[in-house]
Symmetry: C2
């Protein structure tokens, strides 16, 4: 490791602020979802992904990639969501190793009920502060960063 340059002042400032955003924004979203829907942000995201998936169903591994979580984390979560009656597991017909998570009607109703409040929160905390130009800049910045982070699922 010979690349031990420190950060410039500009980089430091940006890094501190990005750190704060990465901590506080998810926390604020979690708070709202917990209060209004007894759901984690991750839990909501997974339900939302399922509700948009063809047949409201997806393979565990696909779903984990869509939600940027580990298979283990997803498996634990799906178990909880199953207990609450929002998701059901099925064995994959084409590959006996695989599981498919299927959104139940109750699960779909939960998403429909929860989405407006959550979207309002995202708007209030994020997009209401940004100009359309800044939204485009943010998108480009995130795209650039993601290319290094090894995630390709949402770069299309």
């Amino acid at each position: 490791m010979e690349d031990n340059r420190w950060l410039t002042d500009d980089e430091q400032r940006a890094w501190r602020r990005l750190g704060a955003v990465m901590t506080l924004l998810p926390a604020a979203l979690d708070t709202q979802l917990q209060r209004d829907a007894e759901l984690t942000h991750f839990g909501y995201w997974v339900l939302a992904m399922l509700s948009e998936a063809p047949g409201r169903a997806a393979r565990m591994s696909e779903l984990a990639a869509l939600a940027n979580g580990s298979q283990s984390r997803l498996s634990h979560l799906i178990s909880k969501l199953e207990e609450r009656g929002w998701v059901r597991r099925e064995r994959a017909s084409d590959d006996g190793r695989g599981s498919v998570a299927v959104l139940t009607d109750a699960g779909h109703a939960k998403v429909v009920e929860t989405a407006p409040g959550h979207v309002a929160q995202v708007r209030a905390l994020l997009f209401d502060s940004l100009s359309p130009r800044q939204v485009a800049q943010l998108d480009e910045i995130c795209t650039a960063v993601l290319s290094r982070l090894g995630n390709d699922s949402c770069l299309g």
Copy 2:
């Protein structure tokens, strides 16, 4: 709640990508720090803040604000860091309710030893992907968002 506009396509795309960055970037930093220093990103951040504080010491509540964590979270963490000999608690001289976290020499050595690898990782994952112009844009975007998130500690 009458503000139930959905997000525009541009906003959706940016939101998905920002979500991915907020999930994957801290995870990647945690992985490096865990592997090389057996430290959480939060744990490192707290030690780093202490090492820059006057007298390498800070009140618990100040430190919690600097690290964007709850007092409870910080209290638990400081207990662990105390066990490992990197931090020591003292009672505040001016206010008997307060505690002061003090970085020990061993703790300072730990920061000095850990920082270069961590900075290299931040560089590799974040700043190497961005132009100076984008760093400035990111800074402005984060500043705007933080003003709504109710955090003022790093807006100076």
